[in-house]
């Protein structure tokens, strides 16, 4: 009797764990952050390393030679945290410390920030020289996923 109850509990626990795991997997799948350019841009794909160089300000041009201007989301956005973890392996604090080094010798400024994803999407759609990142679920016809 007791063992049956334990068995029941184990089954129930497994079911909950499976449901949680499924929820977590689908959540991360939905919440995956992708790099996007305007649908009018000739760029079709970029590697994580190329994205890191663009967003860290190390290059001002895409591999095809065109000028490219990165646009960040707000500093506290989870998209931003995920994007830099993905392309550069860096935490928000590490990104901040990277830019501090550049800012405080007057060598440059970090990318412009747009806190509204709607504004960001519109801006990127309108300007083929810009690049940003958004949640995969928010991609529409005006922009193209490059990573």
């Amino acid at each position: 009797m007791v063992s049956a109850r334990i068995a029941m509990r184990v089954v129930r626990f497994r079911a909950i764990a499976a449901a949680l795991a499924l929820a977590f997997v689908s959540q991360t799948a939905i919440a995956d952050v992708v790099a996007v350019v305007s649908a009018k841009s000739p760029i079709t794909t970029l590697s994580n390393a190329q994205l890191a160089e663009i967003f860290l300000g190390k290059v001002g041009r895409a591999p095809n030679g065109m000028r490219i201007v990165p646009i960040d989301q707000a500093e506290d956005s989870t998209d931003r945290e995920k994007f830099y973890a993905k392309v550069a392996g860096r935490s928000p604090a590490q990104m901040k410390s990277y830019w501090a080094k550049i800012i405080f010798t007057g060598r440059g400024q970090p990318p412009q920030e747009l806190s509204s994803v709607t504004d960001l999407t519109k801006r990127i759609a309108a300007d083929p020289n810009t690049i940003g990142y958004i949640e995969e679920g928010q991609v529409n016809d005006s922009i193209r996923v490059v990573r």
């Binding site: 009018k40 390393a49 890191a52 160089e53 300000g57 190390k58 290059v59 001002g60 041009r61 065109m66 000028r67 490219i68 201007v69 500093e75 506290d76 973890a85 550069a88 392996g89 860096r90 935490s91 928000p92 604090a93 590490q94 901040k96 410390s97 990277y98 501090a100 080094k101 550049i102 800012i103 405080f104 010798t105 007057g106 060598r107 440059g108 400024q109 970090p110 990318p111 412009q112 801006r123 309108a126 300007d127 083929p128 020289n129 810009t130």
Partner: protein
Amino acid sequence: MSNKRIAIVLLMVMCNPARAPANSDTGGDVAAPYSPPFVFSAFGTAGAVHSSEDRADFTGSIFKPNGAGYTHSWSTDVDTILGAQVVAHLTSKLSATFQLISLQRYDNTYTPKVEWANLKYQLTPDVSFRVGRIVLPSFLFSDSRNVGYSNPWVRLPGETYSLVPVSNNDGLDASYRLQLGDLTQTLVATYGRTADNQPQGGGSEARNQWVISDTLEYGAASVHAAYQEAHLTIDSLNTFIDTFRLFGSQGAAIANEFDQANKPLRFASLGAMYNPGEWFLAGEWGKTELHSVLGTSSSWYVSGGYRFGSLTPFVNYAVLTAESPKSNPGVNIALLPPDLVPIALGLNVGLDSILGSAPTQNTVSLGVRWDFTRDVDLKVQYDHTRVGAGSSGTLTNLQPGFRPGESFSLLSATIDFVW
């Protein structure tokens, strides 16, 4: 942060209402990098250091008059600094950078001083020129020398960074960036002078100073190499060395050997860092040749750290070696009239003490950086320094009873912020 953004937006509106954030031409070569008219930012470190050696001071810089150990059991002067900066983007190609820093100075005050004041002309995205007070790019971490938040440690390894104790240069530089596939190379040529005041009185000046520095970046790896020359004058040492000229030709020979005049200081360095995000490994080597009483010194360090979420523990090992003879016979008193002997003996002792005090030491450091909240970190570091026989290492302000060659330990805590 939001106040800053508001201030920037207000300034943008007030100063340049017609300026569009960026244009949306489709031509290809039109998108401008983000450059609001004015950008204000600030950084700082509040720190406290305790030294186990109470008959001398650990200052972390030859430009500081006192520090931890003898003067203060816990010194807040070693690492504490506040910096404020404004960058003005005057046109799409011309910008101005002005930075004031406040830290303990040679005169024991915190009177702000100008760290940067320069105009930059960005000819192309890869070519720029600067004129004014600019960075002296001697080292891998020269750019972030004052910005604790940008560095993994409480302070940059003193063994190596004391080889060139200054951070800026009054003059000009030219920078050329070259992209070779995934490899970025940045070559910088710098020319000018650096002048500072010394705590022991007088000044120091590096004239005709030039540096060629090259940085290679490949993904998470970067390599920095620099070669530098300058003519260095340190007033207090010059006065002392010139006194030898009172003793005829043998005195003049000694003065010529140990005088810095007309002999260039030469410095070379090579550093590398690999920082894929989860961990880092950094190392740097440097050598200063002075051909004077200050002699030739070389140094290197290696450091590594691993990030566990917001905690990044690290370990360092740093070595500083004096490579010049540590003693000199000085003036031969047998050749002197008796009334000059006491003065000559004094000078000889002085010369030997300067030569013998050339710092030789190595330090093992253990510490941790904690990014406990946005834009602020807390660091704690323990250093154990073993000092070479007869040397006082990088300690200053030596007091009666100080015993050269004894090891000492430091315990430091700092809070760094950027704004």
